[in-house]
Symmetry: C2
Amino acid sequence: MQAEIITIGDEILIGQIVDTNSAFIGKELNKIGVSVYQITSVQDDKEHILKAFTAAEFNADIVIVTGGLGPTKDDITKHTLAEYFNDTLVQDDTVLAHVEDLFAKYVNTPISDLNRKQALVPSKCKVLQNEFGTAPGMWIEKGDKVFISLPGVPFEMKGLITNQVLPKLQEKYKRPFILHKTILTNGLGESALALRIEAWENNLPEELKLAYLPSLGKVRLRLSIKGFNKETIENIVAREVEKVLPLIEDVFSGFEDNNNSIEQIVAQKLTKENFTIAFAESCTGGKLTEVFTKRQGASNYLKGSLVCYATQSKIDLLGVFEETINKYSVVSEQVAIEMAEQVRQKFNSDIGVSTTGNAGPEKGDSDVEVGTVCIAISTKKEIKSYTFYMGNHREKVINKSVNKVLELLQKEILIN
Amino acid sequence: MQAEIITIGDEILIGQIVDTNSAFIGKELNKIGVSVYQITSVQDDKEHILKAFTAAEFNADIVIVTGGLGPTKDDITKHTLAEYFNDTLVQDDTVLAHVEDLFAKYVNTPISDLNRKQALVPSKCKVLQNEFGTAPGMWIEKGDKVFISLPGVPFEMKGLITNQVLPKLQEKYKRPFILHKTILTNGLGESALALRIEAWENNLPEELKLAYLPSLGKVRLRLSIKGFNKETIENIVAREVEKVLPLIEDVFSGFEDNNNSIEQIVAQKLTKENFTIAFAESCTGGKLTEVFTKRQGASNYLKGSLVCYATQSKIDLLGVFEETINKYSVVSEQVAIEMAEQVRQKFNSDIGVSTTGNAGPEKGDSDVEVGTVCIAISTKKEIKSYTFYMGNHREKVINKSVNKVLELLQKEILIN
């Protein structure tokens, strides 16, 4: 059971946007046992799209196409699909009613013929209603293969994949189980790690695939397996994990869960334990809070945050002692500790977390080296503080700091 | 002059990572007049890679391959390249010396045979020295076509593209100029905008391609053209921009030039005018602040933010009157006004901005409909407030609210 993803749009090929849709679709398909054979990004050009359709139909059982479904002239996916299937476009009344409804509710401009044309679909297709936008998804079968066309707007595409495409694929096809188990390691290089586990790797069962994913001091080891008996493949993976862990005990830092990001794990745990949290963010600048607030249900555990970017705001709003800043510098564990403690008290939360650091590229209000980040976690029982060196690239420093907080929080909350 | 980008790695196809390399490469190639015909992501599988090489050689003049150059068993790009070109791997002494040097400098583990194998390259290739890592880039010519293999680690790939690949391509090929000019608009839907400029669009010269890139309340209009006379194509674009601007005066917000986004325009204006700003974020949950703090130089104008997510924190920390909340509901312009005013005073900034709304999916502490968002902007001179309906999808409500604030801020600051 193989799928190919085709993303349509010059904006991808000229690098005006990064294609994040394919990763989402790939991950979701894997969860229901569908492998992605290839991802192909093509231009807004009819001949090129037709060529990609032909190749994909040859390679895969399921072809998922995103993009090119807007109302303007440069959107040609629908017409190209109709041509590929020797079909014509017909009006779908449910889609039209939905478009009219959306316009009545949210848009100030009157509905136009362009908007009405969103209701035109190939006559052979089954319409997948798009809850969040005007362009419907389309499902067209050809023999035992299926083409699925989805809008490129990420949240519209996601809604359609989750609510319509996955259930329909599960119903239509018998699929194996795909299991990925990713072991996280820290502090040992890729090749040193490979040598360390060489004997184990050489003796892995043939159906188990091992991949090394190195990234800035971390190496992820991914074990992948496919099979129709879920228990069998789970046992094979469990057995091999059990064998390898003692070899990498000193660098092992956990597992990457397929379905659960670390923020999801933390959010679930906070909700379950009825813990509340508040953040005092300096160098992470709101990103840490946003990681949680973008998820629904954040109000169950998040009291709020103070982004005290300017040093003076740490004193005035958060209540950090000016003497602490003067004595230890604004990027110091002492300041981080006061920030975490103060934010916890001010928001009356169970946990207070702080970040203070220098993300660069220039040194700010502190003389510490660019990339230095201090983090503190305060609970009613204790305060812990840490210092890290996150490198010399602003985006990297911010994101690494957010990841580090999540990692520390996970350990903290799971232990307590 | 066409290129194809091939990215190798199961981690892309299973959605474990998002392929950001291709966007970077696409953008850089466009700058030197090379169009990207297709981006193809394939599995770590020899037969599949060989098939992709064959197809790419047929479609394109330049084939850029990323990934699969690590030292471990799952990295097979180099061997597959050698097979494709009927070649063998030989040791490159300069690469070996570089690997040894890197290990001596940065790595604690001793250099191993695996690391030494990084110095093996196809005998027909020209080595592109990788300043930032152990895997060299490789340049292999076949007739007037060229295959370029690069490591998948983004900063290593970027270094090689910028310092070696682009100069060599410029030397080898005669290339046209590619010009993209992107007009930013705010506040008018894609189809309404299309109708507004229909006559202009219909009369565009054939060599000029127009694309609509809609995203949550913003639409970008991209004009693309290719030609060997730089001045000619620049004039064609300038002439058409001059014609269209009067038609969209009320929604035009600038041009996108190498990331000249609306937040950058706002940030530049704040910096230039010496204005400071503070945010009181409820429904946007830190995202608004993060949009600014992820950019360098934010400390020039950003005092800080309060993410008062829980209603009680709006009262306790921000100083919103409980009566106002009780009387008008927590999602109301009255509350937004107090939030903006209070945050401006508390942070002692020139501008205070607030968001309060219900991003859904469930109604929170307010009875207003999901998607309702109130925004206020307070300056020393005046306070303005607004109410919008942002739809029924959490991510969309948050991001549309952020875009709306940026739009309002731009207008506000540019006028004042």
